[in-house]
Symmetry: C2
Subunit: 632 residues, 2 copies
Amino acid sequence: MTDKSKQQYDIRFLPDDVTVKGSVGEAILKLALKAGVYVNTTCGGAGTCGSCRIIIKKGQVESAYSSVLSSQEIEQGVRLACQSHVISDATIKVIQNIYPGKKTAPRPDYKPAQPLDEISPLSQKIALKLPVPTLADNRPDLKRLKHGLKSHGYENILLDYEVLKDLPEVSRNKNWEVTATLAMTSPIPTLSRLESGNTAVKNYGCVFDIGTTAVRGRLVDLNDGNILASEMTYNKQRSFGEDIITRITRCRKTGGIEAIQQVTVDTLNELMENMQLSSNTEPEDINAIVIAANTVMVQFLLGINPDFLRMSPYVPAIDNISSIKAGELGINVGNHCRVHIIPIVASYVGGDIVAGVVASEMHKNEQASLYIDIGTNGEVVLGKRDWMVTAACSAGPTFEGGGIKHGMLAVDGAIDDFNLINPCEAPVIRVIGGKKPAGICGSGLINTVSALYTEGILAQNGKFNLEGSCPRIRPGDDGFEYVVVESESTLDGKDIVLTEIDVDNFIRSKAAIYAGCQTLAESVGISMQEIDSIIIAGTFGNHINIENAIRVGLLPDLGREKFHFIGNGSLAGAYKAILSVKTNKKMLEIADAITSIELSENQLFMDNYVASLFLPHTDLSKFPTVAMHTKK
Amino acid sequence: MTDKSKQQYDIRFLPDDVTVKGSVGEAILKLALKAGVYVNTTCGGAGTCGSCRIIIKKGQVESAYSSVLSSQEIEQGVRLACQSHVISDATIKVIQNIYPGKKTAPRPDYKPAQPLDEISPLSQKIALKLPVPTLADNRPDLKRLKHGLKSHGYENILLDYEVLKDLPEVSRNKNWEVTATLAMTSPIPTLSRLESGNTAVKNYGCVFDIGTTAVRGRLVDLNDGNILASEMTYNKQRSFGEDIITRITRCRKTGGIEAIQQVTVDTLNELMENMQLSSNTEPEDINAIVIAANTVMVQFLLGINPDFLRMSPYVPAIDNISSIKAGELGINVGNHCRVHIIPIVASYVGGDIVAGVVASEMHKNEQASLYIDIGTNGEVVLGKRDWMVTAACSAGPTFEGGGIKHGMLAVDGAIDDFNLINPCEAPVIRVIGGKKPAGICGSGLINTVSALYTEGILAQNGKFNLEGSCPRIRPGDDGFEYVVVESESTLDGKDIVLTEIDVDNFIRSKAAIYAGCQTLAESVGISMQEIDSIIIAGTFGNHINIENAIRVGLLPDLGREKFHFIGNGSLAGAYKAILSVKTNKKMLEIADAITSIELSENQLFMDNYVASLFLPHTDLSKFPTVAMHTKK
């Protein structure tokens, strides 16, 4: 090595704003890890997964060619961290994703989404060549435009004053060639924008799934349905509290609701900006936005007092609002862009679930399906073509690591799988990112409890079996605990344990979801066996082990062929809605057709819940395949 | 008299801001005349006409009781100038009207307006008692509201995000009693406002006739159609030029259109404020505004480039825009108030004419009617139930005093009638306000030319007959002239004369209107005789002498029983529109049904025009009753 190769350069990572010294030739990915900056990688630096995208904002790096980057991306300074090396000072923006590896496609076993029918997006651009006025035909500009739109089948449209203000100039700028943008507002479209010339090719939209923790978006070409960019980020509302109830309470302070609305919009704007950057689109060409979100998120976004959502009788403000100008909400796109919000069902069953139901197409099935979105809220929908019932189970944050001593989100360092070869020996664990373990995520927790129960280390009541001679059980600060990983192998040098309190919390969560499903079935008078398919939704749901989830009593013990994964059903539904006026309309029909059952003061649910507070259940006959395999 | 009675006080008149000294007991009306401040009076100070309303802004006056003032007005400091006397310093606002005496009702011989059908105003308030939510009925607030509206027959409505933002609070503030305001926008209503409690009684609207010179307004109780206030003022656009073309040209300067839009809105705001004051209504209770105006005024109000209106092929921007939020235009009322603009027909035939046609109900007649709005533009409409044609005749400003040496508007000091007892002697004239004459207004001009022509002093070609021995004809700076009033009797001590150039200009104006009527009739192939009724519109039209107008060839020589006066047809139509969704819809149908004929490059019109450049016409057979009485 020459002296030059030993020279140290300043590599600054954004958005964390961490600067580290790097030698010439040092891999950016390695440097980021050294700096504690989180960068996605699922292929281990082979340059094939494309997860570790970065943008060179200043300075230079040396990058090997990678076929996963488009020429457009390369032009914009996008590189792969694993294929880039230090050659000078540089400022690098890491394109962040929350759940590494979660960008993979849904498991291929369930394909509910038919190929897109004819595309009829929520914003339609119509290029027109209008007749040039003469003395014999000196109709007003607007009549000329209306006639042109009528010839394309649009007769009844709402007119927007702001759009018509410049009508004379816009009409004449390119010799009476204009492009009209129609926002497909309900019940009749709105002329939302008028441009000179033919701009029909520039017609983009964004769909967002606003979750309590994470917000995901896609930028879509509305003319052909191509997804040009996908992004996710943390919901900035988290600065108001991790859980929804805390956030609602914060709204009672003066200016609270305005503040939480602002951060919600900020979150969308950040995603939008990133997606525009990576797709090379302009803000003013975003013509439609579809939002799928739970009811509280919708009210936060709209700045509507959420207080009545959390108090009995749990009344939402708005079920459906046809469309809002993006500018009214402060979203950084042209004011002509309309925001369509997927209709909600009830206080705790929102448009995210409606979108998922429509995406799953369970509303078309002849047989009953059960749609389960496992998360804090734990929404379940049971139904078929003729009827649907839904409930929110209040599962709690267990599956996102909440209420668990060493619980964590499914990010790098989380134990997401757990197997016991020999009950007395150390378990075989899998850690996301291949790093030293830092804690246990939701899917890891299910797998851990399942294995410990199957091996008889945990009893049906969730207590450790002290009669066995498992050396990994010991008394701890919170009662007995099981040592999952010893200190010498963990990230922070402390033991990772699973306590009896953790198991209790886990059992309460899984019992809430199971009891919710059972109560819905009983409410409509069908048995679990009659359910034809179980659709597991959510990015988390996508990663759970069905066998283990049944074994702990989270999911019903039905034929494994009945279980399907749909991935992020909310985003999938929003995507379908933005590309189809008919599907968007269907959302309202579905929201209206679903009957919400309130569980919070429901005696049947309470009975089912208490009966479910065992592994897998007090009534083992409900879990025949589990009973068969469990060690007593 | 005591010393005190001789004491002088400062009386300040607004808005002219003129201060004069007045003695105790001196009449305010007299003092105003002394100060050169114009105050209406048609009863000559008898306290009966109510025209000389003033508002005491500061200080005090002593006023005799007058039954023409409401107790509400008296409470607000409104007094009659003729019944008030000086007792101290005072600041007095004069409630200005432009055309004294024009507040009188239309001549009673024409009653086209049927009694108002069922009132269905453009803003409807619906008081609702919504069911209080329970666990068994926890539908969203919006569903509850929609259900309430549906029970009143409103199912399909547009929702306004701004209105729904406070839905939870508004619903609960008065225990689920709310009042919804529906703006009757086309094609479906908009929920424009939501208030707690029952506020249905407060539902007001304003109608405006925006004329080139004057703007007139009415404030209407939308629940019962009562007119609570009427006001008029000069159009502030006059600071951009007296005539429309000058104003259009000014718009070409940077910021020109924005500036002219602003003064237009300022004019409306001033009228609105005065009407609110005199009717004791609040800005936020004005829920609808209807505007009747010519096409240029509409584009000025909307801030739309008017340049293409004045250039061939004379293309307007917008024929019809269903409704605009008042706030978008800067009108000082609540943003929920919607502005409805009466649709226009063409560049020079505006919504003012459409409103007049609908007010006259000529569109219902089995026989052909001729609607004539005599003014600068001189719009005429010919038609019946099955068809209507219209044209603008470009009469020029003659009838408003323009292009006439001593021409003036019909305000105090204007000669408005002229009769000759003996052709050689001084004429008998009438002066508005009974003052010394200052000039001749439009109706005075018609009467003067008619009398001079009838007596043979003016020849058919508009030249003075020098062979007669009329001592009042003399050579002047502009050729021969007729002395109407000698200097010793005039306001400024100079002779008031009528020159041959004045007569030429007058003949061109009257010829344009007559030729316009004739051309319309010929275009549709009917003779003038087939016309069943002639409807004279406009506050000016209301004051012309039909016999004289026929004698000079301005109006066709038809049976006098066919002539009717409708007064301000535009305002009458706007008033009907704001009180009836059906009538407002009818405006659009009528605007679409009227065929506009462009006269500016029309050979038939040019021929007719040239043939009309005589008194009354080159073809005397068209004016049989005139031919009979004219001295040769």
